[in-house]
């Protein structure tokens, strides 16, 4: 069955430090991959998406993600974290047929001064 795993429940980084959030998926064909961000008490906002082509995709707010087929991963990165990046981040996989998207359990990011 298709699945998405975000191994880290929460991560703490210092402001200005680099960030990498991990995401692994299980799907037999080429997936459609997404990263969303959720600030407290709000809905999810799309950060970036991967469908095909260049495996390094750029998103909003300075985020990027790299698709690695051999590792079934789609990790999210940011070179320098700002305090406003503190939020919960969800990896998701679509393109599995039908209309459902599978979301990971989320990683909560804490940013310390």
């Amino acid at each position: 069955a298709q699945s998405v795993t975000q191994p880290d429940i929460h991560i703490t980084v210092s402001e200005g430090a680099s960030l990498e959030l991990r995401c692994n998926y299980s799907y037999g064909a080429t997936p459609y991959l997404f990263w969303y961000v959720q600030s407290p008490g709000q809905g999810l906002q799309l950060l970036l998406k991967y469908f095909s082509g260049d495996t390094l995709v750029q998103g909003i707010k300075g985020f990027e993600a790299e698709f690695k087929r051999s590792q079934s991963s789609f990790n999210l990165r940011k070179p320098s974290v700002h305090w406003s990046d503190a939020a919960e981040y969800f990896c998701a996989v679509g393109g599995i047929g039908g209309f459902k998207t599978i979301f990971g359990a989320g990683t909560r990011l804490f940013v310390k001064a």
Binding site: Q42, G43, L46, G94, G97
Partner: protein, 115 residues
């Protein structure tokens, strides 16, 4: 541009009372519509989705129901709320074409507390 509205933003209801949460989308036609529930500190649980007026697919058997009386209106209901219905409810839409190939766009959610 497309927008999605959910209301109310916050709701406190006693156990056994009815529920009606509404979601509307503007700026697009024939969207796929979704209801999710997010328990505290948990991920997203898909409750219902709809690909057209009157077409509802249920993912989790429970005391909740959904309806789509108009193309861009999606309603989540319950006749008698349970304590376990507490949570953060999110409505989302995606373009009809492409199914799950397309990203979903979320409303700001409704925080439901059952007393």
């Amino acid at each position: 541009s497309q927008t999605i509205h959910q209301w109310p933003a916050t709701l406190v209801q006693p156990v056994g009372s009815p529920l009606s949460l509404e979601c509307t989308v503007e700026g697009t036609s024939n969207p796929n519509l979704y209801w999710y529930r997010q328990a505290a500190g948990r991920g997203l649980q898909l409750l219902f989705y709809s690909v057209g007026i009157g077409q509802i697919s249920s993912e989790v058997p429970q005391n909740l129901s959904a309806s789509r009386p108009q193309d861009r209106q999606f309603i989540l209901s319950s006749k008698k709320l349970l304590l376990s219905d507490s949570g953060f409810y999110l409505c989302a839409w995606s373009p009809l074409q492409g199914g799950s190939n397309q990203p979903q766009h979320f409303g700001d959610g409704t925080r439901l507390s059952i007393l």
